[in-house]
């Protein structure tokens, strides 16, 4: 019976293992849960930080957003078929459908909206905050911040997709059954969306500090009342514009139940609302255009325009993306500076900059793309001059196209043989060459500018991508110059001839160092008609706000995108070396279809929501 010994031993072992009841229940119960996030102050604040994190990198970074690459202010020829990176190349060729999902921000902004709503629904439970002396106020403020973010994200959707789906205050349950009406919501009419967002911004504004000057320095970047007002100004300006104000092209754009999504009645009063909203920001008296003097103490338009973007939270800034993400500069830096040299403004954008005398160099183009040169401007496309550009440490042989342009040209454009903005790195002075065998030319790499230009707005002179040195700074999203331009544009539509129009428009020109209309040195004549003034305002906006994610939306809301964004795009001849390089040549023929005025709603979303209608033409 000695075998019994083994049986007993085995039996004991068996019993022992099978008695570990917790064997499969091993997850510790003090693992962090979402309920605990809303019981602790620090975790709730981290949650709120996540709500903010969806604020777009509103500085041109062609990997992340298409607003430059799809508009006439830039072209990125990186071509990655099958990938959503740099997809503007395919989109510009017309290879774009509702299933492409290029730059499809629909899901991410709705994720952001859900997070904001969830926060607003639960932050009131936070006992740790409530126990503080100012706990109740803090909860009001945090709620208002989330509300601001949510309104802003709705606006981001609105400008990209047109009328959106407005959700209930609280998030939709994830285990909602398929037949739940909340899973098949229709779109809300455009004007309802605008009213909802404006109303939310007003609500948030009531609980928020007025401006950054009323905040602790540690809180810069949080929502303020001024930020709410600035978003509202842009929102109402867009809403008053021809694309959404009685646009007959959208006559059949309606929900399945027949609800029109774009009001077919033109309403002049929308312009008044827009003008009032902008004026309200101006009337706060908190902001002014940033100005800077040079080393000699002289007012320097070049430094002012350049550093208005670069000096964090200067008096022109209303709201900024406060996350340092200067990596965009790598695409704007020549290859010899360690960059990709790939983000190229086409010739049309380069031509838009005025001469130093305030005259536009080009007044139009012949059908073959030949420019019609404004003889009064002094502009020439032949020959070289020894010229020292503003900001440059030395004079050099410069092609005459780039001589004597307005200061903003030198702030914003890197042209062939220009000196790179960073002259103090270990590489010393870098000369940019975009010709075929130049250091950043097409010969050596697929990283080269298709037009023979780079833009350089918002590039810090101290950044050096070659050693991954980027100057960490916030990126301005709402600045006073835009508010002024919003105001004059709306006012010119609603109340043409109002003296405020010329007054505020000239503020921009004066800071930019170009002759003003009707006043100051070398004054230009004041545009005589509403149309002429509209043209001047639109043009000023194109130049002043270039490369700031505005032009794309401006050309669409003005309904001019079919002229600006289709057809041949020109640049210098990058397949050649000088002198043949300095010759205009089309590098791309873009396709622009009527439906491109709005992004398509992703087809997969239409498949899921039977009440969701697609944008016209898609």
């Amino acid at each position: 019976m000695r075998n019994l010994k083994y049986i007993i031993l085995l039996g004991i072992a068996f019993a022992e293992f099978s008695c570990q009841k917790k064997f499969l229940s091993q997850v510790p119960n003090d693992k962090l849960t979402i309920d605990q996030v809303f019981q602790r102050k620090d975790l709730s604040e981290e949650y709120l930080a996540h709500v903010y994190s969806y604020i777009p990198v509103d500085v041109a970074y062609p990997l992340y957003d298409p607003w430059e690459g799809l508009s006439d202010e830039a072209d990125i020829i990186f071509n990655r078929p099958g990938s959503n990176d740099y997809a503007t190349y395919q989109m510009n060729l017309g290879e774009w459908s509702a299933t492409s999902n290029y730059y499809n921000y629909w899901p991410s902004y709705y994720n952001a909206i859900r997070s904001a709503s969830y926060f607003m629904a639960h932050i009131g439970e936070n006992k740790q905050i409530l126990a503080l002396a100012n706990g109740a106020d803090l909860i009001k403020q945090y709620t208002a911040e989330a509300r601001f973010c949510r309104a802003f994200y709705y606006f981001c959707l609105l400008k990209q997709y047109g009328p959106v789906i407005l959700l209930p205050e609280n998030p939709v349950a994830v285990d909602a059954q398929t037949d739940d009406p909340l899973l098949s919501l229709p779109r809300s009419p455009y004007d309802s969306c605008v009213d909802y967002i404006a109303n939310q911004l007003d609500m948030a504004a009531e609980e928020l500090p007025l401006n950054s000057s009323n905040q602790s320095e540690l809180d810069y970047g949080r929502a303020t009342k001024a930020a709410c007002m600035a978003v509202k100004s842009r929102l109402l300006l867009y809403a008053a514009s021809p694309q959404f104000n009685g646009n007959k092209d959208y006559a059949g754009f309606q929900n399945q139940d027949g609800t029109p999504l774009i009001d077919q009645q033109y309403d002049l009063n929308k312009w008044k609302r827009a003008a009032d909203a902008a004026k309200a920001v101006i009337d706060l008296g908190l902001f002014s255009l940033y100005k800077e003097n040079d080393a000699q103490g002289q007012f320097s338009p070049y430094l002012s325009c350049r550093d208005a973007m670069l000096k964090p939270w200067n008096n022109e800034w209303i709201f900024a993306d406060n996350v340092p993400n200067a990596k965009s500069e790598i695409g704007l830096t020549p290859r010899s500076g360690g960059g990709y040299a790939a983000d190229a403004p086409p010739q049309g954008m380069v031509d838009a900059f005025e001469m130093a005398n305030g005259q536009r160099p080009i007044t139009g183009y012949q059908s073959d793309g030949t420019p019609i040169v404004n003889p009064a401007s002094g502009y020439s496309e032949t020959g070289f001059t020894t010229f020292q550009a503003p900001g440059d440490p030395e004079a050099r042989e410069t092609y005459n196209m780039y001589v004597n342009r307005e200061p903003r040209f030198y702030v914003d454009i890197t042209y062939n043989n220009a000196i790179w903005i960073n002259t103090t790195s270990s590489h010393g002075i870098i000369t940019c060459h975009f010709n075929y065998s130049g250091e950043s030319g097409a010969k050596g790499s697929f990283n080269y500018p298709a037009s023979g230009y780079l833009w350089r707005k918002n590039v810090s002179p101290d950044s050096d991508p070659s050693v991954s040195k980027y100057v960490k700074r916030p990126y301005v999203m709402f600045r006073y110059a835009e508010i002024l331009l919003n105001y004059v544009e709306a006012l010119n539509e609603y109340d043409p001839g109002n003296s405020d129009i010329n007054k505020y428009l000239n503020m921009i020109r004066e800071r930019a160092g170009v002759p003003q209309y009707g006043t100051g040195p070398n004054a230009l004549p004041v545009p005589g008609s509403q149309t002429a003034m509209r043209d001047a305002i639109h043009h000023e906006r194109q130049v002043e706000l270039c490369f700031e994610d505005k032009r794309y939306f401006d050309t669409r809301r003005w309904k001019i995108a079919d002229q600006t964004d289709g057809g041949p795009f020109y640049g210098m001849d990058i397949d050649q070396d000088p002198p043949q390089f300095y010759k205009r040549k089309a590098f791309e023929t873009r396709v622009f279809l009527k439906n491109y005025y709005l992004f398509p709603i992703p087809q997969s979303e239409l498949d899921r929501d039977e009440n969701l209608v697609q944008n016209p033409g898609w």
């Binding site: 068996f14 997850v27 709705y110 340092p324 700074r473």
Partner: protein
């Protein structure tokens, strides 16, 4: 009862054969030379003894002098043997521990023995040349023969004959070799026969391998009969046990493990075409990363990754890719529910069962096998030369209205190679690869044992070098290389008559080295770099690269980026104890098993980035003018980083087994409990740091009647950590039955032709609890997500949190499987056929709920048991073996076909029915239907609008929805996909005298290759990046408007939809490959006698040496894309093996 008992391996150097006469000693020194780096030397000294021939009579009268004090009898007998050379035979059951003292001088042996045995119950007698010690009591085992009076004495031999399942075998023929005398075993398997000590006995029984054993020195001969290959008596491995093949109700396939011994590192590569039911693809031949993906009966769920079978090595879930095939005793796959139900929640994808070799009773046997071979690529893509590349670049531009990019002078300079620095012409694969690598493979094993203990020890070495070139100036070796050492040992000890212990320890060490840059990156860059972009190295020694922060010069990546060393070690051990409970309930036994495994991978990267330059011309002195192209990025000195992967696994199992026959009734029962606990010891977060656990109960009840009707019920009852406690355990039953029709009376008229005709059917449920990337699905998670920064100086940083995954109340996926099978054995075993038809319905497959609209804002939609996939197919094996004169042959054909279909994927209906994924295969590719090329512009005008620049010679697509434009709504399901639906194999083995030719043709069908990618599609990314294949001549040009060239009109960049997925780029990926062929020669016995070897052979072997396929661009097995992966290699090897 055995006389000669053998020492365990550790005692090898001792005189291990006691009781035999040493006529001489031979030492054989085996030295296996290692590789050039002097790597492995195995030095083994064996002392071999050979028994003497005949001895004269009168052994008892020999005179001996011996002096021993208080030694056991056994020791004294040994000394007597050494002094006299007389074999002294005794049973191991005799107690010889009694101690005795003997002082004698020149005394007769008989007298000494009498004194020694005085007072014991033992006596002695001389039998032939030996002395037999036995008990005095009745029924002596040996008698002096009275009848048949010849001069010689006779032994009476007694024994029991059993099969591999330990069942006694009745009716086994026991015959004295060379005579007609013989007997049969009785119902208890027992026999008795009188023999001469010099006789040999032959044991034979239908369906079993005949064994012949010399009687010499034995008084009992217990035999375990092994069934012949393919016979229904064959014992096959099933889930948690063994069964006779005849009683199988489920679907199981085994491979002849001899066939797995290929000169390849990874066992997974040897399976396709050898086992009916296995679908397999090998996507890389890179040393150390060449494992094939294996699916049993294809894919029945949405992820090919989650369709991987459960693999058990020696009963424990383990990886098998690193096992040396030499150490494998059996390799089987379980396919249907009856076979896999016992694995419950883990059995849904089929099971692979591997057992490693154990020892066999007998004298120590040593096997040695060595082979060495050269490897080369099966097929590399061929790139166009520089001049062609430049001409094509110019054509691509000119064909679309632009000016040429390369001047005639540049083309001329490239042609002349007047200045290879500035005008290079590089075939990148030529630069990167040598023509040959090598493999080397050695295996030594030792096995043997007595009835008390059996052992097996195997030691093997594998070494494979990749085909990368080395730079002569390189300071260290960055060649891809894979070296592996395996040690396998199995020990079975019968502690008592009813208690058996088994101990297995298996370890492997793998040493791998790679270039500092990722190998797949090197391949990609060979496809990205044009032949004229830069030379591999400038003549002045500088590293070329165009301006980029990343190194894209493939040669520099290979030679200038440092090296990557990896060291992998694995230990697998298992200990089990089986207690036979026959004394309590006959046929019952209990087994406890414990296994402990560890795995470690250490990855040491020593990398650098060279400073790179671009030559832009030459100065007046003729020196290159070079620009630094990666300012600030280069670091010429090695930097170091380390990463580790490590796991440890514990496994426990307890089982009760019952097996007994009552007349014609066979009853089997099994109840088993097991659990496993795997810990990732390098876990990086809380969730992955928790051990991966499983626990379950499995059971089997089988009944067989008269070897004719079989019924079996199996179940698994399993728990998974993924589910909430109330859903945690699932019950997975299956039922199976089989009917051996050939045993029926009415079948007797066919018996001459068909010996076996058997039908099998099974139906059951198995499960899956694995959710990709999600554990503990019943618990919600908080995710660390993007945060935000506040503060004027960006000083106020917040990390972010949000809901990560929602808690879901999911449970296991269930696979309902039905299998109908057939076994036929005809022409007296010459033809064997096994065929199965299967159908599987998998429901409740975990998917994220795709029907939720995105606007509700859920980042990670919750999982649900929502998917449904159907899978069905057939698989079968047919074997034909025979003999024509001295020529014998065996042919084995395998066939597998499996097709799946998505029934439910929770996706909302698509806009058009042809876009729908439901009803299509899992992972179905969608694309345009290419109608051909546009002939002229009028055809373009008449056709639906296509994107981009469309000209004659561009692809014309079908407008499926008829809306007049070609867009994503016109994409339909195209092709079979890149995982084959059909896999088949034809194995052959032809023997003539001492020669043997064997091999395997392996093929696949219903598979397509979808071509795409930069470097394949001409100038897809423009003209500065992207290589060109040399079949570029086969293209559309205005001068040669061929209707179906390989390439459409060229373009610089992707200017239209030519390069979108379409039927144009879809190629048939079927192939038939001579996977393996071997010719071997067995050295004649006459020669072997002189060198004291039992057997020896030499062989030549080839792997992957021939491929027949319509697909010609690259190794067809690499699948979709452009062939930018380390291709499979072909190997020619020569080797030898011997045993003694």
């Amino acid at each position: 009862m055995n006389f000669n008992w053998y020492a365990l391996p550790a005692l090898l150097n001792d005189d291990y054969r006691r009781g035999s006469y040493y006529r001489g000693r031979h030492s054989i020194h085996l030295i296996m030379r290692g590789s050039a780096i002097g790597l492995m030397i195995i030095l083994l000294t064996l002392q071999l003894a050979f028994s003497s021939g005949a001895r004269s009579q009168g052994i008892l009268d020999q005179r001996v002098s011996i002096q021993v004090q208080q030694q056991p009898l056994e020791a004294i007998f040994n000394m007597l043997h050494e002094k006299t050379g007389v074999d002294i035979i005794y049973s191991s059951r005799i107690d010889l521990t009694k101690k005795a003292t003997v002082f004698s001088k020149d005394e007769q042996l008989s007298s000494i023995l009498q004194r020694l045995l005085y007072g014991t119950n033992l006596t002695y007698e001389a039998v032939g040349e030996s002395i037999v010690i036995h008990k005095k009591s009745a029924n002596p085992k040996t008698t002096i023969p009275q009848e048949n009076s010849t001069n010689s004495a006779q032994l009476t031999i007694q024994g029991v004959i059993k099969d591999q399942l330990n069942n006694p075998l009745a009716g086994v023929s026991v015959q004295i070799v060379g005579t007609t005398r013989g007997t049969l075993t009785d119902a208890n398997g027992q026999y008795t026969i009188k023999v001469e000590p010099t006789d040999s006995l032959k044991f034979s029984y239908i369906g079993y391998q005949t064994q012949t054993l010399p009687v010499k020195n034995r008084v009992d001969l217990n035999i375990i009969m092994e069934a012949t290959e393919g016979s229904l008596n064959q014992v096959v491995v099933v889930g948690y046990g063994q069964q006779k093949k005849i009683s199988m109700v489920g679907s199981q396939s085994s491979v002849n493990v001899e066939d797995l011994k290929l000169p390849e590192a990874n066992l997974t590569n040897a399976l396709a075409g050898r086992l009916a039911g296995v679908i397999s693809v090998q996507r890389s031949g890179e040393p150390g990363a060449s494992g094939a993906d294996i699916w049993i009966r294809g894919i029945s769920t949405f992820s090919s990754d989650l369709s991987k079978p459960l693999v058990l090595v020696d009963g424990v879930p383990r990886d098998f890719s690193t096992i040396d095939p030499e150490d494998i005793a059996s390799f089987s796959i379980l396919k249907d529910a009856a076979a896999t139900a016992v694995y419950g929640v883990r059995g849904a994808n089929g099971v692979i069962l591997i057992t490693t070799k154990g020892g066999k009773i007998g004298k120590p046997q040593i096997n040695f096998r060595y082979n060495e071979g050269v490897t080369s690529f099966t097929k590399l893509p061929h790139f166009a030369d520089g001049v062609t590349y430049m001409q094509m670049s110019n054509e691509a531009r000119m064909e679309r209205g632009s000016s040429p990019i390369y001047s005639d002078e540049a083309i001329q300079a490239t042609k002349n190679q007047s200045d290879p620095d500035l005008y290079p012409d590089i075939d990148w694969f030529d630069v990167l690869f040598k023509r040959y690598g090598y493999t080397r493979n050695a295996n030594l094993n030792l096995s043997g044992g007595s009835e008390g203990a059996q052992y097996y020890v195997g030691l093997s070495y594998y070494d494979e070098t990749g085909l990368f070139r080395q730079d002569s100036l390189q300071k260290y070796n960055s060649q891809a290389r894979y070296k592996r050492y395996n040690l396998t040992s199995n020990l079975t000890v019968h502690i008592t008559n009813s208690t058996t212990m088994q101990l297995g320890v298996r370890g492997h060490l793998a040493d791998m080295s790679y270039p500092g840059a990722n190998v797949s990156g090197i391949f990609s860059d060979a496809f990205y770099s044009t032949p004229v972009i830069f030379p591999p190295m400038y003549s002045d020694g500088k590293t070329p690269n165009f301006a980029s922060p990343y190194l894209q010069n493939p040669y520099a990546e290979l030679t200038e980026t440092g090296y990557d060393s990896r060291w992998e070690s694995g230990l697998a051990s298992n200990l089990s104890v089986t207690q036979n409970l026959d004394f309590w309930v006959k046929g019952l036994s209990i087994t406890g098993k414990f296994a402990f495994d560890t795995y470690n991978l250490t990855n040491m990267l020593r990398t650098k980035t060279p400073d790179t330059y671009q030559a832009i011309g030459r100065d007046s002195a003729g020196n290159l003018i070079e620009q630094l192209t990666n300012p600030g990025q280069g670091n010429e000195y090695l930097s170091y980083s380390l990463s580790k992967t490590s796991t440890r696994t514990l496994y426990n199992e307890f089982s009760l087994n019952y097996r007994r026959s009552f007349g014609k009734n066979d009853i089997t029962g099994m109840l088993l409990f097991n659990q496993s606990d795997e810990l990732n010891t390098e876990a990086s977060d809380l969730i992955t740091s928790l051990p991966y656990r499983f626990r379950g109960l499995a059971g089997r009840a089988a009944y067989g009647y008269a070897n004719k009707y079989f019924l079996e019920f199996d179940f698994g009852y399993n728990g998974s950590e993924n589910f909430a406690p109330q859903n945690r355990y699932g019950f997975f039953p299956s039922i199976g039955a089989s009917w051996v029709i050939s045993e029926e009376k009415f079948f007797q008229s066919f018996q001459n032709a068909i010996q076996l005709f058997k039908l099998r059917f099974s139906y059951g449920i198995v499960g899956n609890s694995d959710i990709s990337g999600r554990r503990f699905a019943y618990i919600a998670t908080v995710a660390n997500v993007g945060g935000y920064t506040f503060g004027q100086a960006l000083e106020n940083n917040y990390s972010g949190v949000d809901i990560g995954e929602y808690a879901v109340d999911v449970t296991w996926e269930t696979a309902k499987k039905a299998n109908l099978g057939l076994n036929i054995e005809a022409l007296n075993g010459k033809i064997n056929l096994q065929a199965d038809v299967f159908n599987e319905h998998r429901s409740g497959i975990f998917l994220r709920r795709a029907s939720l609209p995105q606007y509700i804002g859920v980042v990670n939609p919750p999982y649900g048991n929502v998917g449904i996939v159907d899978n069905h197919g057939i698989d079968g094996t047919v074997t034909w073996q025979g003999k024509i004169g001295k020529f014998n042959f065996q042919l084995i054909g395998n066939f597998t076909w499996a097709r799946n279909k998505v029934i439910q994927d929770d996706k909302p209906p698509y806009k058009y029915p042809w876009m729908e994924h439901k009803g299509k295969k899992v992972g179905q590719e969608f694309g345009y239907i290419a109608l051909g090329l546009f002939k002229d512009s009028s055809e373009i005008l008449k056709s639906p609008t296509q994107n981009g620049d469309v000209r004659p010679g561009d692809l014309k697509f079908k407008d499926i929805n008829g809306d007049g434009k070609i867009d994503a709504y016109d994409m339909v399901a195209i092709g079979h996909g890149d995982i084959p639906e059909i896999v088949y194999g034809l194995g052959f083995s032809l023997g003539y005298k001492a020669f043997k030719l064997s091999g395997l043709f392996q093929g696949v069908g219903n598979v397509d290759i979808s071509l795409s990618g930069q470097g394949f599609q001409p100038f897809q990314q423009g003209l500065t990046s992207g290589n060109l294949l040399n079949n570029i001549k086969d293209r559309w040009t205005p001068d040669d408007p061929s209707t179906h060239p390989f390439y459409p009109r060229l373009s610089a960049g992707t200017v239209n939809d030519n390069y979108q997925p379409s039927t144009w780029w879809l190629k048939n990926g079927k192939y038939l490959r001579l996977k393996d062929i071997q010719i071997s020669y067995n050295l004649p016995q006459s020669l072997l006698k002189h060198i004291h070897l039992q057997s020896a052979n030499v062989f030549l072997e080839g792997v992957n040496i021939l491929t027949f396929t319509p697909f010609e661009l690259y190794d067809v097995e690499l699948g979709d894309g452009r062939g930018a992966a380390y291709p499979n290699t072909k190997t020619y090897a020569a080797g030898f093996g011997f045993s003694f």
